[in-house]
Amino acid sequence: MIEGVKISGSLRNRLTVSLIGGAAVLALLMYFIVRAYATQIAQQGQDNILGASVNSILDAANVSEGFIDVDFPYASFSMLGTDTDDRVFYAIYQDDELLSGYDGLAQIFPEVDKGSAYGNTTFKGAPVRLASASRMLVGADLRVQLTVTVAQTQDSLLGALNRIGRNVAIFGAGFFLLVVILAFWATSTAIGPLAQLTTSVARRGPQDLSPVASPVPREMAPLVFSLNKLMARLEYSLSRSEDFIAEAAHRVRTPLATVRSHAEATLLRVDKEENRQAMRSMIRAIDESSRAAGQLLDHAMITFRADNLDQKNIDLVELVQDLAMRLSPIAEMRDIELQLDALGPVSVIGDAILLQNAIRNLVDNALKYAPSESIVRLVVATTPKPSISVVDEGAGFPVGEINLLPDRFARGSNSGGIIGSGLGLTIAQEVAEAHGGGLTLNNHSRGGACVTFSF
């Protein structure tokens, strides 16, 4: 179907791959965006609690009798309890001096009364998130900046993030799978009209060069438009070439016929033996030319038709019978009997005009080379393949040239004196090949040539 067409990639694959690739990129993008967003939200949640804890401690601070007292509530720390038992660290600073809590906990000193500041650090070997806030305390003879920092490990946060990450990954994978299925579906839907067009063009008969009528998607319109234009041009050129063949046949045959009739008339009027001889040679040459012209036109016609077989169901027996009837006058002239051997109808699919032409050439040959008062047998067989054999009782093919005879303009060495163009077997062979069969030449053991035209 597609021999000789250069293939470069596949639209279907290209479409599928780009859809799936796009989906993969989108799924990955979604994963990272959702994860980043979840991280932000989870971090926000932890920050809020840390900030609340810091503020509850800071709020409990007061100055009494020159001492800083920070009587923070039980809830300051209990609010920091998590499922994964995150560790908690804190520090209370009076100006730059540690008042209580863990020494060495990294300090952020946010601006006084400007809310909490947040950061990440490592404390006691664990990565922690910390919140800090500051407050100015003013007593009778005291003015200090109190800074509170609360830090917490991030096991719970990471646990939550991993859970979210896992869920998002599952969703992403599911989404991706769905898109893969959709991609295959979308691709075959998109490719569908192309396949339909291919089928409709491939199914056309050889004579059908009408434009594609069924509607096609917009993207395919230029292609179908070009195809229709090409077919229109082809049809035009074909009809011209058919016209040309008909014209040529007419133009060559008619003058030749005129010349022949003149030559024959002249022959009757000429008395001198040498002139009569010359006239006979002339008539022979005209016959040969006429026949060659006919054969050439036949051959041209066959070359054209072989590319566009007009395939129909044909009964070979009927075809041969018809042919034999038409050729019987010529046969009778030469006292040759045309004998048809067939058991019943043999049905084949083929181009009737071409087959007729081919078989007629074979029978013509047989009639030319067969001796008078002999029989030319036309055998129609069904096994192993449908075939027609033309068997005569003549001299047979010259043994050394048997394979060369079907070549164009090749004539056997024993053909001397017999009119012929050298195209008869060529035509028969080309028709046979156009029908997927072949032409076999051989000599009968009892003498005589046998040509088998098989499908």
Partner: protein
């Protein structure tokens, strides 16, 4: 004045006695290769059966059981964490802080209720209430108090009987005492009223439950407050002299807890010991064989293992609390 002298004496004696153990026992064969060093504030008699049953399954192991007070335990362990494999204490807050500060090894493969463990490192294995223990003789003919309010009433009605005969923990030196006191104070204002009454009666201050019970049995004191019920009930010989009362309103319950030191040389043996310990304590049917009260799995405790336990360990909070406590109790 008497008490100030007592306090000064205690302060002076403290550092000298730091490495003097209240008790020190060796279990198993002296020639064994592996010696598990357990630092504990729990009387040896409560732990001996547990250790002995553990050694039955671990014949190649011996156990050195070192007992000290809960506050000293905390200091000793922080100073030299590499000297001990397992730490057991009734002071939940101090235990919690040690784990929070990274001194405990996580044991991943131990099945334990979530509320009774922290970071798979600290494992609570008993539920023990703080109780009021009275000398029966002192309450003859009068109804025994069933709550803190009852106790306040009883003490106020007969101050002459109770003058100098009331005992409780010295919260400045007992980790468990401080823990009970802070949790009491957190739960109700009654604690402060009670403390003031104690102060007015010239309260005797103790380091440990054991000493208080001794004095109750001998009749030296008539009432002891916040004594570990398990210790009092453990004195089977003395039940005719003393009576253990579980305060009906807001009972303060402590969970004894254990962890494996990160610096342990025997992480496997220590882990197995914790598993053995929590296994025994989870099994109610073994309560008769092992004197330590089991872990009460029926209710989640009011005092849970969470970061809030560190609240009263804060230097400022502690200073404020001690100041208040001193001003109430020392008059």
């Amino acid at each position: 004045m008497r008490y100030i002298f007592f306090l000064i004496l205690t302060f002076l004696v403290q550092p000298v006695l730091a490495e003097e153990w209240e008790d020190q026992q060796f279990f198993g064969s002296a020639t064994s290769q592996k010696t598990l060093r357990i630092l504990s504030n729990t009387d040896t008699r409560f732990f001996a059966p547990i250790i002995e049953s553990f050694l039955k399954s671990q014949p190649s192991v011996s156990v050195k059981y070192l007992v000290t007070g809960s506050a000293e335990l905390y200091d000793i362990f922080r100073t030299s964490p590499e000297d001990f494999d397992v730490v057991i204490s009734s002071a939940m807050d101090l235990q919690f802080k040690l784990v929070n500060d990274g001194y405990a090894l996580a044991l991943g493969d131990l099945e334990h209720p979530d509320w009774a463990q922290w970071r798979e490192s600290l494992f609570a294995f008993s539920t023990e209430p703080a109780t009021i223990v009275i000398n029966r003789e002192a309450f003859e003919g009068v109804p025994t108090p069933s709550s803190r309010q009852d106790l306040i009433k009883a003490l106020r009605q007969r101050p002459e009987t109770f003058q100098g005969r009331v005992g409780t923990y010295d919260v400045r030196h007992s980790g468990l005492g401080y823990f009970f006191a802070t949790q009491d104070a957190r739960a109700s204002e009654t604690y402060w009223r009670l403390t003031e009454v104690f102060g007015s009666l010239g309260v005797r201050l103790y380091c440990c439950s054991g000493d208080m019970i001794d004095d109750l049995v001998s009749g030296k004191i008539a009432v002891a407050y916040n004594v570990l019920g398990s210790y009092a009930l453990g004195r089977e010989d003395a039940q005719s002299q003393i009576k253990v009362i579980l305060p009906s309103n807001f009972p303060t319950k402590m969970m004894r807890s254990a962890f494996v030191s990160t610096n342990t040389r025997l992480p496997d043996v220590a882990g197995t010991f914790i598993k053995h310990l929590t296994g025994i304590q989870a099994d109610i049917s073994k309560a008769a064989t092992f004197p330590l009260p089991p872990l009460d799995r029926t209710v989640e405790p009011a005092i849970s293992l969470d970061p809030a336990l560190m609240t009263y360990l804060d230097r400022l909070k502690r200073r404020t609390f001690i100041q208040e406590w001193e001003s109430a109790i020392i008059q």
